[in-house]
Symmetry: C2
Subunit: 248 residues, 2 copies
Amino acid sequence: MQSRVIGVIESCFREKFGTPRQGALVPEAPARLRIRPEFMPEHALQGLEEFSHVWLLFEFHLNTNKVFRPKIHPPRLQGKTVGLFASRSPHRPTPIGLTLARLERIQGDTLYLSGVDLVNSTPILDVKPYISSCDRPVRARTGWVRRCRAPRMRVRFAPKALEDISLLVPARGRARLKRLISKSLSHDPRNPRDRAQLRPEKELAFFILHYDAYFRVSGGQAIISRVTKADEASRRRPPLQTGFWLGA
Amino acid sequence: MQSRVIGVIESCFREKFGTPRQGALVPEAPARLRIRPEFMPEHALQGLEEFSHVWLLFEFHLNTNKVFRPKIHPPRLQGKTVGLFASRSPHRPTPIGLTLARLERIQGDTLYLSGVDLVNSTPILDVKPYISSCDRPVRARTGWVRRCRAPRMRVRFAPKALEDISLLVPARGRARLKRLISKSLSHDPRNPRDRAQLRPEKELAFFILHYDAYFRVSGGQAIISRVTKADEASRRRPPLQTGFWLGA
């Protein structure tokens, strides 16, 4: 079967670390998808604007594992395992992910989305409308995911971090950036090994939009210590257009 | 990106004609999926039994179109068109379908499913658990699909058809087969061209389990005129194990 990329996502999340594990965790996370001209978006998107949500089928393009492992360690199971097919792990026989996004609007060939848990430049294979009558089961029972709530941290900005944001970000984007950092961090991006092995006062950072947000975790609380402009050139991550998240 | 088939579906629907356009339309439609041994189902399925529903990602393997068409004619729009990405049409840049199925039980390497809108022997690329917290939007708005309800027909069995079923089907399967035929037919398997061009008294048939169900449509009503044992050898369709739908 041939797969074709219809476009790559532009997302505020620039690296795997810090990207939420579900789109619903950070509903305000902005993203944008431009459909490639060969798929004739001027026709192929017609009627989609009437839907509030879309499914994105995407390639887990950052997988490095080459060996098939039938069991996985989901972060929220804290060391216990479940079968791969009982999980939404990226490491699957066919490395295709499924995520629901809110469709804010369509402009020309571009979908403006929110609540997207994808890292910037993820290749998108398909967009399908969310249709309640086929996609919403009447009575659904969710297994281990329900019992094991995702970890949740309180997040606080140190005065230095707030000052950094004031200096770096245009006024109209500050509140939004703070919410975005705070929501993303509240779900604890660290994996179980990080949590077990790192000293609590160890400073970590995640790359969001054009910034590095530094934080320390202690007890159930994360403190954002500082925010810097990321040195994007040296990070060799796919670029992100400036201002896309401000609607520019 | 490499796609790998984890198993092929066994389904009561033997041909595209008569296969429901959504799984929810015929919730009792039985199906079975055996995971191939190389994916170590004894480990990879662990924990999945706690979920009531699963997503199936599958290949639209019966597509014959080679050309990309950005607009499609959904059956329920009666001739009008919508953009491909505003539809769940099989004819997509990456021919992968998404359907929700009810997981009845797991036995060894086999998933017993219901409400499956897939034709027998469809290649399955992935099974993912349905997780309400990421797959169910809070307020969803559905576009054209909502306005244009799927056609619905009354279905009646002629005495001859009931007699045929009594002769062909073991007692414990008769009521189930009748429900299955009746539900499948109530959603009108005919495409808009059939509906416009065929004489109303024209006898049509669809292939379900091991049977051909013949019917005529007149007004908003379908009458099942007769049911015969299908000549499976000459149909050259992928085989279906006898009795699978009776739980045998």
